[in-house]
């Protein structure tokens, strides 16, 4: 199991479109992926609806945890996606 933190940097936060991009990428890995907020709320990283429940706005910190054979690649790719503002502003 591997966990790393990332900060939401895009202006509008982790809303529907970023959630979809995150799930698209997360689903490419076999590892089980969990996204956690600092307040303890957590969700399945492969569920768009689940990610949207976290209400992550700009500046929020999340931890991305992956558990499985490709966990290292999964965490690194997902952290990069978040830190790069999901490819949007």
């Amino acid at each position: 199991m591997l966990t790393k933190n990332a900060t939401i940097r895009n202006q509008e936060g982790f809303h529907a479109r970023p959630a979809q991009k995150f799930v698209e990428l997360a689903s490419k890995f076999t590892a089980h992926i969990t996204v956690k907020k600092l307040d303890g709320a957590e969700t399945d990283g492969k569920s768009i609806l689940g990610l949207m429940t976290l209400e992550l706005s700009k500046g929020s910190t999340i931890s991305i945890q992956a558990d499985g054979v490709d966990e290292e690649k999964a965490v690194d790719s997902l952290i990069q996606l978040v830190e790069n503002k999901f490819g949007e502003e």
Binding site: Q11, A16, R17, Q20, S27, I48, L49, M52, T53, S57
Partner: protein, 150 residues
């Protein structure tokens, strides 16, 4: 976020028939216009469809949450539609959509309000019991009561 404040019985459709997601969105936008939530229906529909082109708003569980922030919106609203026949929404899980929630937010309020409505709605929809009760509801009043209680 009080979702009930964004809803009224006139913007809930329990037996919507539409051939495509575009057609379904337009029918519900007409209802938003009739109920006084929109000042410019076409401008609002365009914002929703442009957003849809950037990526489907299908969130899984046969549900979609299309949304648009637009100068064509007078005050925030949440329209709800259940479809007679499921329609393709290009969702990630490839399943057609049975029910959708159409969010309208005025341009000037766009930032935070938008995210709060999406999160509040998602926190309800994640519960299977909530989804099943909505799917079983027979009247708009029932839908509003379910949203109030869960």
């Amino acid at each position: 976020m009080d979702l009930v404040a964004l809803i009224n019985e006139q913007i809930i459709s329990l037996e919507l028939s539409a051939e495509s997601k575009e057609a379904a969105i337009k029918i519900m936008a007409d209802k938003l216009l009739e109920s006084g939530f929109l000042s410019d229906r076409d401008k609002y529909v365009e914002a929703v469809l442009v957003r849809e082109q950037k990526g489907s708003t299908g969130v899984g569980f046969e549900i979609a949450i299309p949304h648009g922030k637009s100068a064509g919106v007078k005050r925030s609203a949440l329209a709800i539609a259940k479809l007679n026949e499921p329609i393709d929404w290009q969702s990630l899980d490839d399943r057609p959509v049975k029910m959708f929630f159409l969010i309208a937010v005025p341009q000037e309020q766009a930032g935070d309000e938008h995210l709060k409505i999406l999160s509040s709605l998602s926190r309800k929809l994640i519960h299977e019991e909530f989804r099943n009760q909505l799917l079983a509801a027979k009247t708009p009043t029932e839908i509003i009561d379910i949203i109030k209680t869960i």
